[in-house]
Amino acid sequence: MQRKRVSYAKWGYIFAAPFMIAFLVFTLYPLITTLIYGFTNYKGMNPPPLEILDEPFKMYKTVLTDKVFLPALKNTFVIWGVNFIPQILLALVLAVWFTSTRRKIKGQGFFKVVLYMPNIITAATIAILFRALFQYPKGPVNDLLMSWGVIESAFDFSVSGTAARCIVAFIQFWQWYGYTMIVLISGILGISPELFEAAEIDGATGFQQFWYVTLPNLKSIMLFTLVTSMIGGLNMFDIPRLYLNGGPNNATKTAALYIYEQAFGNSYRYNRASAASMIMFIIIAILAALVFYMLRDKDEAKLNKIIRQQEKEYKRKMKEQKLQGGGN
């Protein structure tokens, strides 16, 4: 005798509905309209009725050939790279030091709290703070460098494109290496201690342990850090905007800043900004997919496949049993 069971499936739909509705309305719909606007005549303070342009890809062509977008894209990558490479290296070194069982570094709690601190402070504030610190001719950094004898007379950091780019990259680095360090520490602590013990027994040096045990086991976490940092970096806006507003001479103009200026900086070129947004979207999607593909664990992928097959098999068997049970 089988009692009729209540199905709770509908509650799954009910509970997931607010998320789904909010996502469709506030993310998916704007994404689709942004895509469409890139092909239209949508611009000006009082935009004309929407029409697809005779030459639909005109805005894309304009964006890709204008004098600002591609250099801005290049700046974005350069600034991100100059910040990310030292960031991940320093974070890795610190993470290895802090987790070393031989050295037992004291005061880790304090160091973690202090090194992570810049990360939670408003980027907008930090940008303007650094602007004040690098003030010319009298500013804290200039004073410091002069009193140490590094430079003879005050240096105007705001007119040199290279200096401006380096400072923006430095701020990014300074805000994020603490975060990356904590992420990597938790990654290292997640590696089975037996692996390290075995390496020790085999007489591996500290560096060999790092190279053959720590690093390979951190792969997926480093990948996660890389992808999230890259996506964040490609959307970099607050710091370049408030540090020198993209200057000098567009040296710190990023793609996000370009999009903002096209649409909201009194030029009302919504169609052009939409096209640029979509170009960024494509770049981010490709890079994310590529990095995931390159660094995905092949064994893991195989294992997942086997598990999925087994699950299917199991479900099929259950179904058969149920059918047989129903027959009795």
């Binding site: 942004t34 202090v114 804290p140 990654g187 909201f264």
Partner: protein, 279 residues
């Protein structure tokens, strides 16, 4: 013996590097705080001082009648961040609950979808979003900064990871036998179990929302500015000659964050470590 000495020197070197980095983190903020109390004249004669001065009230006076209003910015940011945090935390837990507890046909498809959209940066949909808000008449209101928080894919992911081991389906089942309704079970049984995860996610969402500049700058006019938008006003030409006031303004905008951070730093650091394990 020799090995021991070398290791000791190495360890000392590590402490030196760590202390240097710690100073690098603290120093800019220290200068900011000290200079907030110094007059523009003092700052111009020596930009770095380790000793505070007495001009904090004068510097505050500079803001009088200006658009930069840290108290207003604080209240606006409070409203936006609190609203967004409550919505994000409640609805993400609810969505995770739907995936963990119930068996529905589209469940796996839905979760795969959540994973795929995890990385769409909101910034890229801005033009469409702005146009929609404009046609709804939601420009210059806080709603567009709060309500979209209902859909937070990465938090759904996190909550699901936490919920699977934490919430046993037997508890849910026995509550049902006792005659509890589904919403009741979620609110009274699942939510309390999820408290630790909710707390960490709440801190991060709050800080994140508090620090947002892009969207508020696009959607809000000066009378509705949040804290980061207020900060951007300090870039104004007027403040080019008011160094002390700029430092004070910056200090006031980060003060709430300092308070939150030093009160909760232990949980925040643990939360960063926890959040990363998902990767």
């Amino acid at each position: 013996m020799r090995h021991g000495i070398r290791a000791k020197i190495g360890t000392t070197g590590i402490y030196i590097v760590c202390i240097f980095l710690a100073l690098l983190s603290i120093f800019p903020f220290y200068i900011m705080i000290v200079n907030a109390t110094r007059s523009t004249y003092e700052i111009q004669s020596t930009a770095i001082s380790l000793i505070p001065s007495t001009h904090i009230i004068d510097n505050w006076g500079v803001f009088d009648g200006k658009k930069f209003d840290p108290i207003k910015g604080f209240l606006h940011s409070m409203l936006v961040s609190t609203g967004a945090t409550i919505l994000a935390v409640y609805f993400s837990t609810l969505t995770a609950y739907a995936v963990v507890v119930y068996d529905w046909k589209l469940k796996n498809a839905f979760f795969t979808f959540v994973m795929c959209v995890l990385m769409i940066p909101a910034q890229l949909t801005t033009i469409g979003f702005y146009k929609m808000m404009y046609s709804w008449g939601w420009v210059n209101s806080f709603a567009p900064l709060i309500i979209p928080a209902i859909a937070a894919p990465s938090m759904v992911f996190f909550m699901r990871q936490y919920m699977i081991p934490a919430l046993s389906l037997e508890i849910v089942q026995s509550a049902r036998i006792d005659g509890a309704g589904e919403f009741y079970i979620f609110n009274r049984i699942a939510m309390p179990i999820m408290k630790p995860a909710i707390a960490t996610q709440a801190i991060f969402t709050f800080v994140n929302s508090w620090n947002q500049l892009f969207m508020p700058l696009i959607l809000l006019r000066q009378d509705k500015y949040t804290m980061p938008c207020m900060v951007s006003l300090l870039n104004n030409d007027f403040y080019k000659t008011e160094y002390g006031a700029v430092y004070l303004g910056l200090f006031l905008t980060v003060l709430p964050l300092f308070v939150v951070y030093f009160a909760l730093s232990k949980y925040i650091i643990a939360g960063v470590a926890l959040g990363s394990v998902k990767g």
